[in-house]
């Protein structure tokens, strides 16, 4: 017990640093994936058949394979690809040349950038499907009622459809966002120094503490706290939109 009391402040400080990185990845993912998902959703309901097909295939690949593999491919892929492109080939095409020269920068910054790209693409595909459902789920009668009343397309979108859409997609979106909090731990696979990584360090030994496993277990508290806050926030939002059906 004495030992625990000694270890706790050290562990707590280290885990906080790790969790900051977790939160950073979480925020960057949301900031990138929400707009990208909306863009993909617009593409998926556009008139262009090519665009629709491309997006459908992308969504299938991304949702159909583990995020962990996507992380590995995005982090290690460029290096492997670069070494397989010959100098002659690179000289013949600017695109191949770009691939040949692309590397994630070394260290934590490079890992964070790669993880962000992987998470943004992955979550954008999930959000895309939710947004598409939200857009298509609004009865055509709503649009027609607006048209008959002489509203413009913009007015119909902003004054009639938007709020109904937000209400409809809030539950699935909040679900995804809560999953994202936990999914950030997958970035551990490319050694991003997030909270799990930080907790694990005390197993191997760090700052004079080694062979203790409780810090790793304790990381769970961080996820619980974050998701608790999110759950309360989303419940409030849902209640706010509960005034209509």
């Amino acid at each position: 017990m004495d030992q625990f009391a000694q270890q706790f402040p050290v562990v707590f400080k280290t885990l906080n640093v790790g969790f900051l990185q977790t939160l950073k990845l979480f925020c960057v993912t949301l900031l990138g994936a929400l707009p990208l998902g909306l863009l993909l959703a617009c593409g998926e309901i556009s008139r262009s058949r090519v665009l629709r097909t491309v997006i459908k295939v992308l969504v299938w690949i991304i949702r159909g394979s583990p995020l962990m593999i996507q992380l590995l491919i995005i982090y290690y892929g460029p290096g492997l690809l670069a070494s397989s492109i010959s100098a002659e080939a690179a000289a013949s095409s600017p695109f191949l040349n770009m691939l040949r020269n692309f590397r994630w920068s070394g260290g934590e910054d490079g890992r964070f950038a790669a993880a962000s790209v992987a998470f943004i693409i992955n979550y954008a595909c999930y959000f895309c499907e939710i947004f598409r459902g939200g857009i298509q789920g609004i009865p055509v009668g709503q649009e027609e009622a607006g048209l008959v009343l002489g509203m413009t397309g913009r007015q119909i979108f902003f004054k009639v459809k938007l709020l109904q859409m937000v209400k409809a997609i809030l539950p699935p979106i909040s679900n995804e966002i809560i999953t994202l909090v936990k999914d950030t731990s997958l970035a551990r696979i490319i050694s991003l120094q997030e909270v799990i990584w930080a907790g694990q360090a005390f197993l191997k030994g760090s700052q004079g503490i080694s062979g203790v496993i409780w810090p790793l277990f304790f990381t769970g508290v961080y996820y619980l706290a974050a998701n608790g806050l999110l759950t309360v926030g989303f419940a409030k939002l849902e209640k706010k939109l509960g005034y209509f059906r």
């Binding site: 027609e144 008959v148 002489g150 509203m151 413009t152 109904q164 005034y243 059906r245």
Partner: protein, 264 residues
Amino acid sequence: MPILQVEHIRKSFGQTKVLDDISFSMEPGNTLSIIGSSGSGKTTLLRCLNFLERPDAGVIRVRDEVLLDAGEPKKVTDRETRRKRLHFGLVFQSFNLFPQYTALQNVTLAEELLAHDTPEWKADKSQTLKRIRDHGVELLAEVGLANRMDNYPHQLSGGQCQRVAIARALALRPDILCFDEPTSALDPELTGEVLRSIRKLAERNTTMIIVTHEMDFARDVSNTVIFMDNGRICEQGDPREVFDNPKQERTRQFLARYHGEDAR
């Protein structure tokens, strides 16, 4: 002078001919009922009048202004289309109220949006809003919903929703108000209140086109009845004539089915 002239409207969806050479005209203040079996094109006709569907051929004239000449491929701007469709109002079978707005807001929304950027709006915004609100209150009172103005659609019964929808359609003062089976989505005990509201409008000489399966109501309230069959106008005339003395065999068969149902 007729308020509405519809000439030789045709409309197909792919291979299906849905409207085939529809022509009729209406005098202001009159009520026209359209009856006919399912799939005969009644809804499509109303949708053409309201610019929700574009006819393949034909002319629509309101007060001698040509609103649509399908023969002229001239591209009209969105703004023009919006101005033209405001000659018509449409009450849907399924109400299509905006769920996030109260009854009153449903009624006033479009008028408020239209008022934006008008000289009146620029001169005195709050006065304009007040005028629009008062108008909405008045319309809701007319359909018997003075005490329900601040309720949301999900807090209202079907009959009340449809009456809000009627008030909403009246708010922009359309020349011709169209109803597409306004009581078909309602429980039988709720149809009465909606029909009463429509009857009141007819008594005030609102120009109306009513697609309906309520034969007794159609006979009672309208100046003219059109019986549609298979995308064509099979018979039209005074309601007593059409209902009591149908000239066409198809009309007779159609009406007999209804009377049969009444007898049961």
